[in-house]
Amino acid sequence: MFLSLKDLHQELPAVITTSVGDLSDLIASLGFPIDDVAEGEHGPVLEVDITANRGDVMSHRGLARDLAAKLGKELSTVDLDPLEEGEPLVQVRLEADACALYSTAVLTLGALQSTPEDVKKFLASLGSGSKDLAAVDASNELLHRYGHPTHAFDADKLRGGIVIRYGRAGEKIVTLDGVERSLTDKDLVIADDSGPIALAGLMGGENTKVGVDTRRVLLESAWFEPRVVRAMARRHGLHTDASHRFGRGADPSMARIARDLLAARLKAWAGASLDGAWTEGQEPAVAKPISLTKELLHRIAGEPLSIEDAAAILRRLGCLVEANHLSLRAVPPSWRHDLSLSEDLAEEVLRLRGYDLIPSTLPPVKADPEPLAKDYQKRHSTARRLASLGFFQTVTLGFISPEADAEFAGTPAAGRILGNPLGYEYSVLRGSLLPSLKHAAEHNLRQGAREVRLFEIAPTFHTTSDGPEEHSTLSLVWAGETGGLDPITPKGPVLPAALQGVLAALGVPGAKAEVQTLGGGLLAAEVAMADIPDPSERVIPNFRGFSRFPSVERDLSLVVPFELSFGRLAEAIHGALAGTPLHTLTCVDIYRGKGLPEGHQAWLLRLIFQGDRTLLGDEVDGWVDLALDAARSQKAELRG
């Protein structure tokens, strides 16, 4: 909300000498931070951030009232010339509960009209220029100065009586912004015999618009149910100064006053004369009293504040307060719809005292602290492990395009589709992290990265009949050229085996550690976090004995057909050597060059034996022979 300092001073003369900076701090301390201060022709204008619960401070008078309560100062008096009410000149019927009160007046305008210069400057400083129509400018000025929205219809364009009712299916209205709007039975409208002439609390209609030719005006100053106005504003995407104020709750006691002030301005600015004034309905019921005990105030404030002081603060805010030394009962003023609980009153007391006076201490809590959850710890340690293995953690959006999803996700996208996405390319909750990682990897390669190592740990979404199920997932992408950055480490392409090694280091079981090639030299893997072993329950596992006797190492150079996998060969050897102290069987070299029979390669196997005694050369030779027999059974031969 824009706030002209000059006009704030007019409402609260006590702050005339307060500097802009101090005043900004003061307003912020009440809960309304200042976003900006601009210096204009009309003096400084503050942009004030008003919280959604405080419609009552959305005007110069309203904010001045909160400041006055804070400072214990008086607001300036407003000259009021209440109109004498009489019989309705036009029939007004309130058919909907959402309009409790409708105050109106009909005036005939004089031949000449002009908006005073200072009012034009005031409106201009708030970014709302003069329309050079007294009724429109006066209504705008009143809204910004006193907070109550009003409206003027061209009385000669009205057809018959006025009714405040809900819209009917098929009805339409062209609002003042020139937009034709279809109405529903949730739209509160002002209608005459011809149909809707205004959207209540939002905007008037084009058909009864006040113009330069308007001779007679019918003023509207009403109170509309905030909930209904908010819903209409949202439904029509029409957020106006009026809807902001009615939507947050206008002050019903202001309806007549605003009408009178508007009429007085028309008399002064346009030589208008009153034809008649009347009001239908009545103010909604007075708010219920709220109690606040000394005990609750003490608990919330953190110190034993006196109920008398609290009562005094609430009275300054306009509450009617009865108090004894243990508790108080307060009836909020008509403009404070936000107050309904004891806690609300406590907040008001603290707010006006200043939050900076609240003491500061750590809370006493009896509950035992809890350890961090296993899943959280696992994600955390996996991320740290990968970062120390040279991978960069990424953060990517949870939704992707249907095509990207279909390429990698295991399940159909139905059930994971957003009803209102930002766009088609963000419309599916991803079933795999790989499309996002691939995109990030390609970005890095395009930017000239020699080597790309990325990972992400995030949920992937999986369709079920009850909605998407979330699985914590790890994905990795590795691409480019590795090594070659120092005089020692040779450079070379990234190999799938290296990524497999990373997965193995994380404890991913072999069967789940599938390395995919995504094209463009990108290697990738995706595993469920559930497939990575949980951190151990125990800091140190059970003691397992180990042999202190020397191990014996034997190498076996074999020529093997390409069809034979190491896994199968190892299985055969382990089978043959079951019961022997074979400790490790591994392959330490692969040769695929010249000198081998067609369709064969050479493997250098290493067998390490270790027992609980010193092993003899002869017995080890015997086991190696068994291993060789087992290898031969798999069509491997000793390399000559």
Partner: protein, 363 residues
């Protein structure tokens, strides 16, 4: 080198005398053991060497000269042997020195570095917040990203017609109109409160942090993203007031920004707390003297907080007459941008390794 009487040497044939004179230069010219061995052969070898030939010539020299000449030849030979030995020692130690230089690593060359990746800066900040709150007994609670209206809105006292519930602000699922992408980490509060309500008396209270990803329907621009991160904190106990919230957050900010971090609280409004507040910290960049980041005010807004609204406790099945507590929530991107002065939010989601390397690490 002690040289013999030149008169005696003048008795030698010319070529031998010249060779004798050349010896010192030849010796110092030897740069390797091979060369030295060759020189040794030429001067002192058993057969055909200079010394052997000189001994041969002694036989045929006049008798009266024999004594002097013999002594001179012996001296010469001894001198050569000493010279060769000294040079050998020199060359050997030079070879040793070279060998050791050859095997030594020039410490000013780039060493092979172990691979260095990094955690994402947003994760690092969230991890740090967890670290900050662990000593106060907070653990981590998490919840799903696809949530129900019940947890995301109803349980948080957010009115039926609150704009945040609209499809303009919140992503809903096409086939499940009651399911949405959580708009804040606060539904974790609702879940935890409901889960622990029956055992609250036995437990004595609740304390946790809830870091996580949240979604709002904002277009991607330098300060907005449809997905971002929050860290939520909550404490429930008996007799909890604003002073406890203040004490907790003041401690946390000092732990996060250093012992001089000053905080200030302003009233604010969120439907799930009452009283509500926002907290500013002294601008981490200028320390409070005023700069571009804090728009000259010396303060930057860092989080929203308040005492848990009695309705939130009641909806979860907790009696607000007995239990009270506070909650706070911080925008991770916003804070990360502020402390790092990252100019554009999109950098956090672009995942350029240069950015991740510069902003990341392991802590």
């Amino acid at each position: 080198m002690t040289l013999p009487d030149s008169n005696a040497l003048s008795l030698l044939p010319d070529d031998m005398a010249e060779a004798c004179e050349r010896f010192p230069a030849a010796l110092s010219a030897c740069a390797s053991l091979d060369e030295l061995n060759r020189l040794k052969g030429v001067y002192t070898g058993r057969d055909g060497s200079l010394s052997a030939r000189m001994m041969e010539s002694l036989k045929s020299s006049p008798k009266e000269q024999k004594r002097d000449l013999g002594a001179a030849i012996n001296t010469l030979k001894k001198t050569w042997e000493e010279g060769l030995k000294a040079r050998l020692t020199e060359l050997e130690s030079e070879k040793k020195r070279l060998d050791s230089v050859k095997n030594a690593w020039d410490a000013t060359l780039p060493p092979p570095m172990p691979p260095a990746g990094a955690l994402h800066p947003l994760n690092r900040l969230m991890d740090r917040l967890v670290d900050v709150f662990r000593p106060l007994g907070y653990h981590v609670e998490e919840g799903p990203e696809v949530e129900t209206e019940e947890h995301n809105f109803d349980g948080l006292n957010i009115p039926e017609d609150h704009p945040a519930r609209g499809t303009a602000d919140t992503f809903y699922l096409e086939q499940h109109s009651k399911l949405l992408l959580r708009t804040h980490t606060s539904p974790v509060q609702v879940r935890v409160l409901k889960r622990l309500a029956p055992e609250l008396e036995a437990k004595g209270g609740i304390r946790f942090l809830a870091p996580g990803r949240v979604y709002r329907k904002d277009e991607i621009d330098p300060t907005h993203s449809p997905m971002f991160h929050q860290v939520e904190g909550m404490l429930v106990g008996k007799g909890i007031g604003m002073h406890h919230l203040k004490g907790t957050l003041a401690y946390a900010m000092k732990a996060l920004f250093g012992p001089n971090a000053d905080v200030r609280f302003r009233p604010s409004y969120f439907p799930f707390v009452e009283p509500g507040c926002e907290m500013d910290v002294h601008c981490p960049l200028c320390g409070g003297s005023g700069c571009r980041v804090c728009k000259g005010s010396g303060w930057v807004e860092i989080l929203g907080a308040g005492l848990i609204h009695p309705n939130v406790l009641r909806i979860a099945g907790i009696d607000p007459e007995i239990w009270s507590g506070f909650a706070f929530g911080m925008g991770v991107e916003r804070t990360a941008m502020m402390v790092s002065q990252t100019p554009d939010l999109r950098l956090f989601f672009e995942n350029d390794q240069r950015f991740l390397k510069a902003m990341g690490g392991l802590d």
